[in-house]
Each structure stands twice: as structure tokens, then as C-alpha cells.
Assembly symmetry: C2
């Protein structure tokens, strides 16, 4: 099983990471995800990492890449389901996941994406940082 | 990673099977899922098998068990994302997945569950069969 499935839920995509990531799998996921964002006209990406015991710098970087690529394609990324122990380890390792939004679970992540969408569609055109509230 | 994550989406639960199932993992999933249906008051279960190249009699039986247990707990089960090759193999093996509803993808599966819910709440009682509406 050399592909991580990407599930479409309305205007959002859901990726549940359950297996150990290695270089090729991470590359495949990034390619699949960017293609899917475009083909599905997705406005948000939810990445569930509740299965992961460990998030190392490799996965942290991958998540950052995915968030950055999605943002360019006008889709917000939210990482959901992080275990408490993973958060502790990340901070101890000095990895603060810059540019990545997190939420407790998929439902809250979807709410966050919906709110972000509404803000974006009602406010002036923006997408990435340096935004003024209207 | 000895557990398959169960994601809550509204009143439904989503399980994405991405790893090879073995006995213990299947047992753990069934236990987790039944507990979660009760604790989350879930009315439906979506099982995504789009990652699976092969669905053998073991997985077919597991899906059947999950569907049967869910039904007793008043939750419908829909298997989504089956690959065409998997469907062909299932039929060739004589496995017709009795009692299991299928849908093309998660979105359609959710629609199916919602419709099933509405029918149950508006029509005469069914779901776990033969119940009277209050």
C-alpha cells in the first residue's frame, strides 16, 4: 500500500496518516494532494495524525511543505488529532510547526476551516498572513 | 501503530483502513468502534477501503461483523472507496458482502447515511428492525 488515501469531504480534503512516512511516500502524498486540491477545487486540507506516536523533524517538514503548497493553491491546512506526548516532544525538539494550524480533532478542524473560509470570502482578498481585519 | 484511528464527523464515524489487517488489529478495531459508537452517540459508520488492493474473506468477515455490531447499536455501516479490481475479486471469490452497504466515496456514503437516517426517523421504524417509533 504505497499511497495514503485522500478523502474528499465537501470542499475539504482529509488525509489520515497511519503509516510510517518515508521519503518516497511523503513525495507521493505531496504530489497527490496538490493534484487533488486542484481537481477537487478543495478549499481546505485536514491532516489527521492521531495515529502517530512520534512526529520528527522529517514529518514536521513534510507538514510544513504541504501547508505551504496548499496555501499557494488557496487551500488552508489544519493538522488535527495530535497526541499530547507528540506536542511535548515537538516543543522539546524545538520544532514549533511554523505556518501550520492545529485543531483538537477533525470536527473542530472543519469548523476552523469553515470560519477561515468565511473570513476570507467576506474580507478583502488575502490568503497568507499580513491580513487586516475588516 | 497498533490502532486504526476512528474519526468523528458530526454524527458519523469514519474509519480509513490503510494497513494490512491481522486478527488482533481487527479485534481491536471492532472493540474501539463499538465503544466509540456508544460514547459518541454515532448514527453511522463509514469504512474507507480505498487503500486496499485486496479484500479477502477475512476482511470481508470483519466488515460483516462491524456492520452487524453497528446495526445492533443503531448505527448504519457503509463501506466506501472500493476499487474496481477488489469488487471483481470479491465476486470471483463468491464473497458478496451480505448486509454491507457500499458507496463510491465518502461523500456519497455520507449522503446515503443521511438519507437512511431521515427515512428511519420519518418512516415506520426500522434500523435495527422491528422497533416502534415514539
Amino acid at each position: 500500500m504505497e499511497r495514503i488515501p485522500i478523502l474528499k469531504m465537501g470542499e475539504f480534503l482529509l488525509v489520515s496518516i497511519q503509516v510510517d512516512m518515508h521519503d518516497r511516500l511523503a513525495m507521493t502524498l505531496q504530489e497527490d494532494l496538490t493534484e487533488r486540491i486542484v481537481s477537487a477545487h478543495a478549499r481546505g486540507v485536514l491532516i489527521d495524525i492521531s495515529s502517530l506516536d512520534v512526529v520528527d523533524s522529517f514529518i514536521g517538514r513534510m507538514l510544513g511543505h504541504i501547508a505551504a503548497m496548499s496555501r499557494i493553491l488557496d487551500a488552508e491546512t489544519v493538522v488535527v488529532g495530535m497526541r499530547p506526548a507528540v506536542a511535548i516532544t515537538l516543543v522539546e525538539l524545538g520544532l514549533s510547526l511554523p505556518g501550520i494550524r492545529t485543531s483538537l480533532n477533525v470536527e473542530k478542524g472543519m469548523d476552523l476551516l469553515r470560519r477561515a473560509r468565511n473570513e476570507n470570502s467576506s474580507g478583502p482578498g488575502e490568503a497568507s498572513r499580513a491580513r487586516t481585519q475588516d
